[in-house]
Amino acid sequence: MDRRRIRVLLVEDEEIHRVVARAVLRAAGVEVEEAENGAEAVRRVRERVAGGGGAYDLILTDKQMPVMDGLEATRQIRAMVVATPIVAVSSDSLPPDVQAFITAGANDFTPKPLTKEKLGHILAKFGLA
């Protein structure tokens, strides 16, 4: 039986971080969709929920983004009663930054940049490996 590919939503406004994270995710064999800000991420999640296409298996989100930041996007996704694991990937990694994400509803936090090792830990933690 073919194992369905893991579907990840990568939420990141800076192109260089998207390029590197995308390569890390693809190297791990996951299917990647991208949103360049929190508002687009919320829209994509809502469309998946409404369209019956199945939720994302994992959402990786930056914090600072135009239009809507990662914290607000996390709050809005949780308000839709979406249980998808959300992991913040941000260079703002002081304890208050981490706690803000957890309070918003994120499941975990990892400092930028995303690496194969960090992704491996994330996938294992949420049973996606």
Binding site: E14, I16, H17, V19, A23, Q64, S91, K112, P113, K116
Partner: protein, 152 residues
Amino acid sequence: MEYANLRRQAASLKRSLFDQGYLDEQFCQVEDLQDEASPNFAEEVVSLFFKDSARLVANIEQAMEKYPGDFNRWDAHMQQLKGSCFSIGASKMSNECTSFRNSCAEENAEGCRRSFQKVKREHAILRQKLESYFQLLRQAGPARTATRSGGK
């Protein structure tokens, strides 16, 4: 063979970049993402970094000129540049970004100016060194697998 010599030179240059603190492990992570589908991934990411960082440096320069004493604004711009440095492991440059941000936290305008000059200098040095590195790799061509002459 010429390509072997060029590869040795590139490896030596890369080692020196690590030894002198210009790069950290993240650069190896980026190179490790290269594969047959993306054989020049590292060079592409580094090019993107320098395109991006040049823009961010210009933004900081403009912010310092147009908004004197607006340390929050200066810091926000530098935070972006620092994050960009992390993506390729540009550790010396990111350290100078941190010094700038520390000066912003202290509201030390002169400290910011000095740090910013160092950021620009490290940016220029790193660009020149990485350009040399990738030029050597391009001249060397793709890595060849050694074969025993006359063997299977």
